[in-house]
C-alpha cells in the first residue's frame, strides 16, 4: 500500500519538500492570477522599484514557475515509487504556501519594494491582512507537521 506507515520505503523528507515546492508555486500563481490579473491591484512594473529589485524579481518569478512544475512531478515520482507520505506532504504544502505568502509580504513588498498590495490607499491594513493570512497558513502547516510526526514513520 502506498501509504502504509509500517513500510520503511516511505520517504517523509522528500514528500515534505516536494509538497513545499508545490505550495510555493500554487501561492505564487494565486497571487499572480487574483491580484495582478483579476483585481489588477498590483502593477506589472513599479517605477519606484530599485534595479536590484527588478533583477531579483526575474529570479523569483523563474523559481515560482519551476517550483509548481517540479513539485507536481516529484510527488508523482514518489507516488510511483510507493514512497509518498501524504501527512508529510500536507504539512509541506501548507508550510510552502504560508512561507511564500510571508516572504512575499515582507521581502518582496517591503524590502525589495517590487510593488504594493494596492495603490492609492494606506497599505498598512492590507499588509496586516496579507501577512496575517500568511501566518494562519503557516500555523495550519505546523499543525499538519506535528500531526505527521505523531503518526510516526520517519
Amino acid at each position: 500500500m502506498a501509504n502504509d506507515p509500517t513500510s520503511s520505503n516511505i520517504d517523509t523528507k522528500r514528500s515534505l519538500w516536494a509538497a513545499l515546492l508545490l505550495g510555493i508555486g500554487v501561492m505564487a500563481a494565486v497571487d499572480e492570477i487574483v491580484f495582478h490579473q483579476l483585481l489588477q491591484w498590483h502593477h506589472f512594473f513599479d517605477f519606484g522599484t530599485p534595479t536590484f529589485g527588478i533583477i531579483s524579481d526575474g529570479l523569483l518569478h523563474a523559481f515560482e514557475l519551476l517550483a509548481i512544475v517540479i513539485g507536481v512531478f516529484m510527488l508523482l515520482d514518489l507516488s510511483q515509487r510507493k514512497r509518498l507520505a501524504i501527512p508529510w506532504a500536507k504539512a509541506g504544502f501548507f508550510l510552502g504556501m504560508g512561507g511564500f505568502q510571508l516572504f512575499d509580504g515582507l521581502i518582496n513588498h517591503k524590502i525589495l519594494r517590487l510593488h504594493q498590495i494596492r495603490y492609492g490607499v494606506d497599505p498598512l491594513l492590507y499588509d496586516v491582512v496579507w501577512n496575517g493570512a500568511a501566518i494562519v497558513l503557516l500555523l495550519v502547516g505546523v499543525w499538519f507537521y506535528r500531526r505527521a510526526k505523531r503518526l510516526g514513520y520517519r
Binding site: G58, A62, F73, Q80
Partner: protein
C-alpha cells in the same frame, strides 16, 4: 517614423511565399521518409509525424504573408509570431525526432557524413544548453534593446535572417534541454538542464520587464501602450512556452521505468542504499 510602403509593394510577390513553400517541402519530405520507415523493422511512431506536422502548421501560420505583414506593423503581432517561430514550433519539431529519421533514411555514406557532422566541434558547441540559451535569449536582448529591431523593419534580408536565427536557436534550445528523442551530443544531468531552463525563464522575464519599463524597442514609431502590451505578451507568453518545455521534459522523465529514472536530487540513490542497509 518609418514608411512601410515597400512592404506593401513586395507583398504578394513570389519571394514572400518562399518560406511557406520551403515548410511545405520539408514537411512532405519528413512524412515521406516517416512513411517509408513504417514498413521497416524498427517502425516509426505516428505521434512523431503528428508532432512534425503540428510544428509545421504553427510555423506556416507565423510566416504566412498576411500575418507577417500584420506583425510588421504591430509589435504585439510580432511578439505572437516570435513565440510561434522561436518556441512552440521548434518544440513540436524536436519531439518529432527529425535527426533520427534523417539518419535512418539516408544511405550509409550519407548517414555517416551526417553522424560525423553531429559529432563536430561546432555542433557540439551550439547544441550545449548554455550556448543555446545565449543564442536564444541573448539574441532577444540584442534585438530588442538595440536599434537592430527598427533596422529589421526596413531591411527585408535582415528581417528574414532574424526569423531564421530564432527558429534555429529555439530548436537548439528545446533539443538541448530535452536531450530527447534525438540523442544529444551531451550527457548532462536533469538537474543541470532544469537549472539552464531556470536561467532562461529568469532572463527572459527580466527582458519583458525592461522593455515594459523603459519602452524598448525604440525608434519604431510604436506607441508606449503597444510596446507595453508586447512586453507583457513576451513575459506571460514566454512563461507559458517555457513551463510547457519543463512539463514536456519532466513527462519524458516520468515515462521512464522507475529503475532507470535519474534522481532529481543527488542524494536520492544514496538514501535508497542507506535504507536497504538498515533493513
Amino acid at each position: 517614423m518609418h514608411v512601410h510602403d515597400h512592404a506593401h509593394a513586395a507583398q504578394g510577390t513570389l519571394l514572400n511565399w518562399l518560406p511557406l513553400a520551403l515548410i511545405v517541402l520539408i514537411t512532405l519530405a519528413y512524412l515521406a521518409a516517416a512513411n517509408a520507415q513504417r514498413y521497416k523493422a524498427a517502425g516509426w511512431s505516428g505521434w512523431r509525424s503528428v508532432f512534425f506536422t503540428l510544428g509545421s502548421l504553427l510555423l506556416a501560420v507565423a510566416v504566412a504573408p498576411p500575418l507577417m505583414a500584420w506583425a510588421h506593423h504591430d509589435l504585439v503581432g510580432h511578439m505572437a509570431l516570435h513565440l510561434l517561430i522561436g518556441m512552440l514550433a521548434p518544440l513540436a519539431w524536436v519531439l518529432a525526432a527529425p535527426i533520427t529519421l534523417l539518419l535512418s533514411t539516408l544511405p550509409q555514406a550519407g548517414g555517416r557524413r551526417v553522424a560525423a557532422l553531429l559529432q563536430s566541434r561546432f555542433v557540439r558547441f551550439v547544441s550545449h544548453p548554455v550556448s543555446a540559451l545565449i543564442l536564444n535569449i541573448g539574441g532577444m536582448y540584442v534585438l530588442y534593446l538595440t536599434p537592430l529591431y527598427s533596422a529589421s523593419l526596413d531591411n527585408q534580408a535582415l528581417h528574414y535572417w532574424i526569423h531564421v536565427h530564432f527558429l534555429v536557436a529555439g530548436y537548439l534550445f528545446c533539443w538541448a534541454i530535452l536531450a530527447e528523442p534525438d540523442v544529444s551530443p551531451h550527457r548532462l544531468s536533469l538537474r543541470f538542464r532544469l537549472g539552464v531552463l531556470f536561467a532562461s525563464i529568469a532572463t527572459h522575464s527580466l527582458l519583458g520587464k525592461l522593455m515594459y519599463g523603459y519602452a524598448w524597442p525604440r525608434g519604431t514609431g510604436h506607441s508606449l501602450e503597444e510596446v507595453q502590451a508586447a512586453a507583457q505578451l513576451m513575459y506571460y507568453g514566454g512563461d507559458l512556452a517555457e513551463v510547457l518545455l519543463a512539463v514536456v521534459l519532466l513527462t519524458l522523465w516520468l515515462r521512464r521505468p522507475v529503475e532507470r529514472r535519474e534522481g532529481l536530487f543527488k542524494s536520492a540513490e544514496r538514501d535508497i542504499s542507506r535504507v536497504r542497509v538498515n533493513i
